[in-house]
């Protein structure tokens, strides 16, 4: 069982609200990632980080932003939620270096009304 946590697990919110999805890991991993996944579909990388104060955009354009102030914490923020943001958001982490397994959190299922 991976020591990576996401809160909330489920969130239903109205259009225009600001939301922050939390992700924390206790494995001391330098690399962290956010993926977006529609039900039954592939995962798309939207953000990643190599370490503290490092954030990069992923392959899928996203209106969300991330921050990495602490190694263990990688929150994702949507300033103004829209129905098009409805999806599952998965956080992952891995050790530094290449060819390292990514450990996934349980995900946050976001619904924007």
């Amino acid at each position: 069982e991976a020591d990576i946590y996401q809160t909330p697990r489920y969130l239903v919110i109205g259009t225009g609200k600001k939301i922050t999805l939390e992700c924390s890991q206790t494995m001391g991993h330098d690399k962290m990632y956010w993926y977006q996944q529609d039900p039954g579909m592939e995962l798309h990388l939207i953000h990643y980080s190599y370490g503290v104060n490092s954030t990069e955009k992923g392959d899928l354009s996203s209106e969300s932003t991330v921050s990495r102030i602490r190694t263990e914490h990688f929150p994702l923020t949507l300033e103004s939620a829209r129905p098009s943001h409805t999806s599952q958001y998965l956080c992952a982490s891995s050790e530094i270096g290449t060819n390292n397994e990514q450990f996934f959190g349980p995900g946050t299922r976001l619904t924007v009304l």
Partner: protein, 112 residues
């Protein structure tokens, strides 16, 4: 561009049968692949990995085969059980950036 894709979106098998899930990739320089299992409402969970210097790797009831010539890999599950019902993803770990490229996923349905 880089892509990893699965041949079939859904696979239905009888309990006790063997399952084979296929995956194709396009980057001939890819050197590390992971199979993930994702149960409903959960994040992907590592099953088995394989590096490009290997053709086959076995785990507990699972075997991954890699054919670099045709850029194809497969996941074989022996004696499939109801608990194996999930979506299975193959993922390609592109070198340097440690970013996984995921295919679309295959849903495995195990019937009693």
């Amino acid at each position: 561009g880089e892509s990893v894709g699965l041949h079939l979106p859904t696979l239905s098998v009888q309990e006790g049968d063997n399952s084979i899930i296929n995956c194709a990739y396009s980057n001939s320089a890819s050197d590390y692949f992971i199979w993930y299992k994702q149960e409903s409402g959960k994040g992907p969970q590592f099953i088995i990995d394989i590096r490009s210097n290997m053709d086959k790797r076995q785990g507990q009831r699972v075997t991954v085969l890699l054919n670099k010539t045709v850029k194809h890999l497969s996941l074989q599950i022996a004696a499939t059980q109801p608990g194996d019902s999930a979506v299975y993803f193959c993922a390609d770990l592109t070198g340097g950036y440690n970013k996984l490229i995921f295919g679309a996923g295959t849903r495995l349905a195990v019937h009693p």
